[in-house]
């Protein structure tokens, strides 16, 4: 079973959440090229999501070159270029920062205050190591 966790709180459409998490698993090297993916129906049951939504996510991932479908053999993780891996990683980190900034903005923190918090966390982690 894939470690995919869908969020009820998020406004992001479900197919997009699935796509993004699969991309992250592939780019992060957790799913290597050639790894078989669950069938659309099996993933549909595990995630409690309709096959229509899963199919849409798989089709998008295939169009972007992350996965491949061999007729009669199911769906596999494709060989992807390092550039693409890097893009996914950067996008994922940027998104986490975006969310943090949004939270800070909702408390009316200034850019300077946010940067101070950011550096404080980095410092703390350095000491912790």
């Amino acid at each position: 079973m894939l470690p995919i966790r869908l969020s009820k709180e998020s406004r992001e459409p479900i197919y997009h959440q699935i796509e993004k998490q699969l991309k992250a698993l592939i780019a992060g090297g957790h799913l290597t090229a050639g790894t078989p993916l669950p069938s659309i129906r099996a993933l549909s049951k595990d995630l409690e999501i309709s096959v229509i939504t899963i199919r849409r996510a798989y089709q998008d991932l295939e169009a972007q070159g992350f996965i491949e479908t061999a007729h009669g053999k199911g769906t596999y993780v494709a060989e992807i270029k390092d550039v693409l891996k890097q893009e996914v990683k950067t996008a994922s980190v940027s998104e986490s920062f975006e969310r943090a900034i949004e939270t800070a903005r909702s408390y009316d923190y200034s850019d300077e205050e946010m940067t101070a918090i950011f550096h404080a966390i980095l410092e703390k982690r350095k000491k912790g190591e």
Partner: protein, 281 residues
């Protein structure tokens, strides 16, 4: 994709009950759940599809053939498991299997045996002597191996315990994987709906409330926790508990909150159960 089953403007009245008009299409590769309270007309609708009752108006076509026509070849493409099976009580599982398997060219004996072992079904006992749960298990063991294109199940898990329900779902999933197939399942069990259904066809007192793709339905409702109680009614408002509002039109509701300067403290999607409860009220 052409539909395998097409129901158009179907109507039927019985005593003081009026079904329809109902229109519904079933596509290959999908699982459609019929959802509704007791007496909503689900079983009647399924019987009409199987041509076990006559419609007053409208049409049902299965693989392009009207179900009440002369050509009954479509019947071999559908397997129907009714809620209460009439005429099986006096026979043992072994006898029933012999009778049924001879009708279906693609009968899968290995699958039958697998299900019998999985559920530990006693084949030498008369059907009528089995518990309700065991009757449902045997019915399923006699339905799936027919390898028809479409499987129609009326409340198939009502008497199953939790582990058996899990086996049941896995069996249906495996069955769907094998070929291009379709399932129609009438069910009260929300677990069936969450794990199996792609589409929900919701019925109330014989009328169709809606035909929804599962995620589209889930995404069309949202619950908001607000920092103040809105004075006016919120777009799409379906329920309100002080600062907690459920809207069936999240985009319009969020626009309204922004205009009215009401802050959203938190928000979340609803559970499928909650949405169904609201639709059936």
């Amino acid at each position: 994709m052409p539909s395998w089953i097409e129901i158009n403007g179907l109507q039927k009245s019985m005593d003081d009950f009026q079904l329809g008009p109902i229109s519904l299409a079933i596509e290959p590769g999908t699982i459609t759940a019929l959802v509704g309270n007791n007496g909503s007309g689900k079983s009647t609708l399924l019987k009409l599809v199987m041509n076990l009752a006559n419609a007053d108006a409208g049409s049902i076509e299965v693989f392009g053939k009207p179900v009440d026509g002369k050509d009954e070849s479509w019947k071999r493409k559908l397997a129907f498991q009714p809620q209460k099976i009439i005429g099986w009580d006096a026979y043992t599982g072994t006898t029933l299997k012999k009778m049924i398997s001879s009708f279906y060219e693609k009968w899968d004996e290995a699958l039958f045996e697998r299900i019998v072992r999985l559920f530990d079904i006693p084949l030498d006992k008369r059907f009528g002597k089995l518990s309700e749960g065991m009757q449902q298990k045997l019915s399923l063991a006699l339905a799936l191996p027919r390898n028809t294109d479409v499987l129609i199940l009326d409340e198939p898990t009502a008497f199953l315990d939790i582990p058996s329900k899990r086996y049941f779902m896995d069996l249906l999933i495996d069955w769907m994987e094998a070929e291009e197939r379709a399932i129609i399942i009438a069910s009260h069990q929300t677990d069936d709906l969450r794990k199996l259904a792609d589409y929900l066809f919701v019925m109330r007192e014989g009328k169709a409330i809606g035909h929804y793709e599962k995620e589209t339905l889930l995404e069309s409702y949202r619950r908001y926790w607000l920092d103040e109680t809105p004075d006016g009614s919120v777009p799409g408002e379906v329920s309100r508990d002080r600062q907690r509002i459920v809207s069936a039109d999240p985009a319009a509701a969020e626009h309204y909150f922004a205009v009215e300067n009401i802050r959203i403290i938190d928000h979340a999607a609803l559970d499928l159960e909650e949405i169904i409860d609201m639709l059936l009220k």
